[in-house]
Every structure is written in structure tokens, then in C-alpha cells.
């Protein structure tokens, strides 16, 4: 009875003989606090960590207390170097993403739509995709040197494969009947691409984009470890070499925040631009 009352205030009046407003305020409170539930476990972890560090149970040389890291973060926010690092890494990530995602998108669409292209590229992609992209980092550094281009390229290569495969899968998952509708009505090639293939593949494309930002960050940090003199990855590596662990944790936190922000941004854009994706009727 209690459950019913909370979920459906209007029923509560008849069944539970309880003021509807009380039930309603309980419901809204739950709605308001609901999203905050995700914070519970990270907060508990941080609290335990903080307590353990202060009590001396863990080695603070390796695991400084969260409050110490936060203080370090705060001071770094006012240094010029922090923003240079962040700006550079963001620039590398975005340019690399663009360089990899756009060709990947086009090849994925082409593979999905044209059999000859599918036959030509699918074995190639399947063979190269499982290769860990970090393994070719030395080669990339050799070819492109220590400049910006090597960072763009390593991100782009990783992103390219993921984007190709996800877009391809997206096109293949479009129900054939949608193509039948277009064909029956006499749609031209380009009309079919733009009204059926592209929107139909969007769920796959967006999934690809989501994974790509994660992989892009990973490759970027790896590249900055060994082949850069600025950037968040470089800063983490540098912290190790000077044995100063707090900036390292700040770098890790920044990467985590970036990953979260990108995921949130993509979700937001998706909800805004493609409302039908939230509840696709397939």
C-alpha cells in the first residue's frame, strides 16, 4: 500500500486515506535525490582513503590523502603551466578524434552500403583492429617525430578503426525494409544515404564516438608519456621522474573528469539532436 501511495499520489487519497500532498512531497524528494545516489560509493571510498591516510595506515608517499590532492589541484589551477598542459592535451585529443573519426565514419558507411568495398576492406580492418595501437607508437614517433603530428596520428589511428567498425555495424543493423521504402518510392542514391543510411546508422555511430573518446584519451596519455614535453600525460610522467606524487594524482583526476565530461557532452548532444534515439522502435 505504501508503494502505491508514493508512486501514484492520486490513488493514495482513496486507498491510504492519507493527504496527497504528503505522498507527493515524498515522491519529489526521492526524484530530486535519486541522481545523487551515484555519488555514494565514490564518496565512501574517498572517506575511507582520507581516514586511512590520516591514520597512517597507508603510505602517503604513494597514496596522499584526497584532501592533499585537492589542495594541490587548487594551487595548480592558478598556474600557467596547468592550463598550457590541459589546452595542449585537449587540442591533440580533438584534432586526433576528428582526423580519425571522419574517415572512419565514411569508410564504415561505404562498407555498409557497397558490397565490393565491404569485401575489400573487411578482412583488412578485422586483421588490423586487434593490434594494440600503442604497439605502433614507436613507429609513429619515428615517422612523425616528437612534434604535434605524432600525437594527432596515434589518436587518429585508434579512433579510425573503432569508428569504422561501429559505423559499419550501425549500417548493417538497419532493417532492410527502410531501404525498400526508399527504393519503392524511387529515391536516388544520395537521398537514400541521407534519409535512410545515415540516420539509421546513428545509434552505431554514437556508440562509436563514445568509445572513441575513451580510447583517444588512453592513446594520447601514452603518447605524451614518451614523446612530449607538455600535456597532461607528460605531467603525470614528469611527476614520477621527480618523485612528486601529488601532481600525478591531479593529472589522473583531470583525465577522469575529461572522460566523464565527454561522455556527458555526447549524451547531451544526443538528447538534443536525436530525441528518437532515446527510445528507438526497432
Amino acid at each position: 500500500m505504501k508503494e502505491t501511495a508514493v508512486r501514484n499520489p492520486s490513488v493514495a487519497v482513496d486507498l491510504a486515506a492519507r493527504p496527497a500532498s504528503e505522498a507527493r512531497s515524498k515522491a519529489t524528494l526521492r526524484q530530486l535525490l535519486g541522481p545523487l545516489q551515484v555519488l555514494i560509493s565514490p564518496l565512501v571510498l574517498l572517506l575511507v582513503w582520507e581516514g586511512a591516510a590520516r591514520a597512517g595506515w597507508i603510505e602517503t608517499k604513494f597514496f596522499p590523502a584526497p584532501s592533499t590532492i585537492l589542495a594541490q589541484f587548487w594551487t595548480m589551477l592558478f598556474t600557467h603551466g596547468f592550463w598550457v598542459d590541459l589546452g595542449l592535451s585537449l587540442q591533440r585529443l580533438l584534432i586526433g578524434l576528428l582526423m580519425g573519426a571522419v574517415p572512419g565514419l565514411l569508410l564504415g558507411l561505404a562498407m555498409g552500403l557497397f558490397r565490393p568495398i565491404r569485401i575489400a576492406f573487411q578482412p583488412l580492418i578485422a586483421a588490423l583492429y586487434p593490434l594494440p595501437k600503442i604497439a605502433i607508437l614507436p613507429l609513429i614517433l619515428l615517422i612523425f617525430g616528437l612534434g604535434e603530428m605524432s600525437k594527432y596520428v596515434i589518436v587518429a589511428i585508434g579512433v579510425f578503426f573503432l569508428m569504422t567498425l561501429n559505423t559499419f555495424a550501425g549500417v548493417m543493423s538497419i532493417r532492410p525494409i527502410y531501404f525498400d521504402v526508399a527504393k519503392n518510392l524511387g529515391a536516388s542514391r544520395w537521398q537514400t544515404y541521407f534519409t535512410v543510411a545515415l540516420p539509421g546508422a546513428l545509434p552505431g555511430i554514437l556508440t562509436g564516438l563514445r568509445i572513441c573518446t575513451g580510447l583517444g584519451l588512453l592513446l594520447l596519455v601514452a603518447a605524451e608519456f614518451v614523446g612530449a614535453d607538455a600535456g597532461i600525460g607528460y605531467r603525470i610522467w614528469w611527476s614520477w621522474s621527480v618523485f612528486w606524487v601529488e601532481p600525478m594524482y591531479v593529472g589522473l583526476a583531470v583525465i577522469a573528469i575529461l572522460g566523464f565530461a565527454f561522455a556527458y557532452l555526447i549524451d547531451f548532444a544526443e538528447r538534443l539532436l536525436f530525441p528518437w534515439l532515446r527510445n528507438p522502435s526497432r
Binding site: Y178, N184, L185, T195, F274, W276
Partner: protein, 279 residues
């Protein structure tokens, strides 16, 4: 010239490769569809009636034989098809879906076309849902929307492939009446595939019965009821029931034959291909 049939089908055959074996879906199909006629096609499942319709809709090509559709006006698209499966685009709103056909066939003429689309949406009871996406609609509404999308193009040939098969009885009855009303008002040539004999007799001017696979036209029966038709009262008339019973006699033979062929194929003794060849 005006007495020339709208659609001429002569000796059409269609073979598919199924697991490296040739499967003959249609064989020697010969049929005329008259201008502005409402023709229903019934047949046992798997008899190739959908294949025949897909050929008329330019989605398949005959393996051999002649298939001719008389295209009268460049202002109107040749055909528009309505499928049994859900076929409205989930990425378009109701309004965009409704206008899609007209826009894609290149027959869009600005406000005039928009008026027609709006009018049909209104008739289909979808006006209030213009900005909704299909996932927010019921199954019946989605099927009405695909009807609007096809009809808005004023096709010379409207092709329907068991459009109401997936709907519940109430929705089906309502949609049948709406379709008949629309057709009586706008008139165009309609080919309507169904497995329901009642539906065929209710809607059609003529009913073509197909044989089991490989499908051919077994007989064509004229439906004498006048227009406009009130489907509800027609259903209860004795003449209606007589027609349906007669058609069922004709169809039952084919259904039984199809069943026997299925059983043989399952037993694996006789290849599914040539089962009808002896006839």
C-alpha cells in the same frame, strides 16, 4: 486506349537461390489489373504473393516473363507500397514521415502538397501528433501513418502487402473502413495482398486466388457489392458469406497442397523445388 489494363503480367516466373538450390516462387503468372480497380490477391502462405507485389513495386525483377505497368502521368509516381512490417522511419517525426513520399518522389509542389499531407494526416487522426516520433505512437497509428505516407504521393498504383495483419481486430476493422473510404474518394489502382478471405471480399472489386508454390493465378472472382460500401453491414450479409465460402473451397485445396509439400520438404525426401512441377 483507356480500356487498356493498368498492369499487365504475362507468364512471369521468379526463381530464388535458396541454399544453392533453385526455388521457384512464381511460375506462369498471368494477370491484368484494370485502371482504378481494387484487386485483392489471396493465397496460401509461401505462395509468392508478396514476391509478386514486390515486383510491381520495383523491389524485385522477374526471372522471365513480361511485367508492364502503364505510367500515365509524370506528375504522379508510379507506385507506393505499404508493408506489413512496421516501416515508418523512427528518426522522422510524424509530419516528416507523412511528407517523405511526396518529397522523395519529386512530386512536391509546395503548399499544395503540404495541404494534401495535412488533410490526410487529419483523416488518419494523426494531426495532433505531428511532432511526435513513431516510438510514441501505437501500432495502429504507425500503420495509418505509413498509409498516409504512401497515399500522399497520389501513386498511380497503390500496393499493400497484408498491411493490417499485425493489428488487433478492432483496429483492423477501423482501418479497413478508412481505407475503403479513402479509396472511394480518391480512386487509384490498388493491389492488396491478404491472407484473409473476408478482408479480400470486403475491400476488393475482384479477388485473385493463387496456387501454392510455385505460385500462379488459380482463378479471379468478381465481387459484386456496390460502392460506397459499409463494411460492418456487408459482413453480415448472406451473399458475402457465400462468396467467402466459395473462395475458401478454392483456397483450401491449395493450403492443403502447400502443407503436404512442407511436410515432404521437412522429411527431406523430395526437394522443395519441384514439388509443384507435376501439376
Amino acid at each position: 486506349m483507356t480500356t487498356e489494363p493498368k498492369v499487365i503480367v504475362r507468364d512471369v516466373e521468379r526463381t530464388f537461390d535458396v541454399r544453392r538450390r533453385a526455388f521457384r516462387a512464381l511460375e506462369g503468372v498471368t494477370l491484368d489489373v484494370q485502371r482504378n480497380e481494387f484487386l485483392c490477391i489471396v493465397g496460401p502462405s509461401g505462395c509468392g504473393k508478396s514476391t509478386l507485389l514486390r515486383m510491381l513495386g520495383n523491389l524485385e525483377k522477374p526471372s522471365s516473363g513480361l511485367l508492364q505497368i502503364h505510367h500515365e502521368s509524370a506528375q504522379r509516381p508510379l507506385s507506393a507500397m505499404i508493408f506489413q512490417e512496421e516501416s515508418v522511419f523512427p528518426w522522422m517525426t510524424v509530419a516528416q514521415n507523412a511528407a517523405y513520399g511526396v518529397k522523395i518522389t519529386g512530386t512536391w509542389r509546395g503548399p499544395e502538397s503540404q495541404r494534401r499531407v495535412d488533410e490526410l494526416l487529419e483523416k488518419a487522426g494523426l494531426s495532433r501528433f505531428r511532432d511526435f516520433y513513431p516510438h510514441q505512437l501505437s501500432g495502429g497509428m504507425k500503420q495509418r501513418l505509413s498509409l498516409v505516407r504512401a497515399w500522399a504521393t497520389s501513386p498511380e498504383l497503390l500496393l499493400l502487402d497484408e498491411p493490417f495483419a499485425a493489428l488487433d481486430e478492432q483496429n483492423k476493422a477501423l482501418l479497413q473502413q478508412e481505407l475503403v473510404k479513402l479509396w472511394e474518394e480518391y480512386r487509384s489502382t490498388v493491389v492488396f495482398i491478404t491472407h484473409s478471405l473476408e478482408e479480400a471480399v470486403l475491400l476488393g472489386d475482384r479477388v485473385a486466388v493463387m496456387t501454392s508454390a510455385p505460385g500462379r493465378i488459380k482463378e479471379v472472382v468478381s465481387v459484386p457489392f456496390e460502392r460506397p460500401r459499409a463494411l460492418a453491414s456487408l459482413r453480415r450479409s448472406g451473399e458475402f458469406n457465400q462468396l467467402v465460402t466459395g473462395l475458401w473451397e478454392s483456397l483450401r485445396e491449395e493450403v492443403e497442397r502447400a502443407r503436404a509439400a512442407e511436410l515432404r520438404a521437412l522429411a527431406g525426401r523430395v526437394p522443395e523445388t519441384a514439388s509443384g512441377g507435376a501439376r
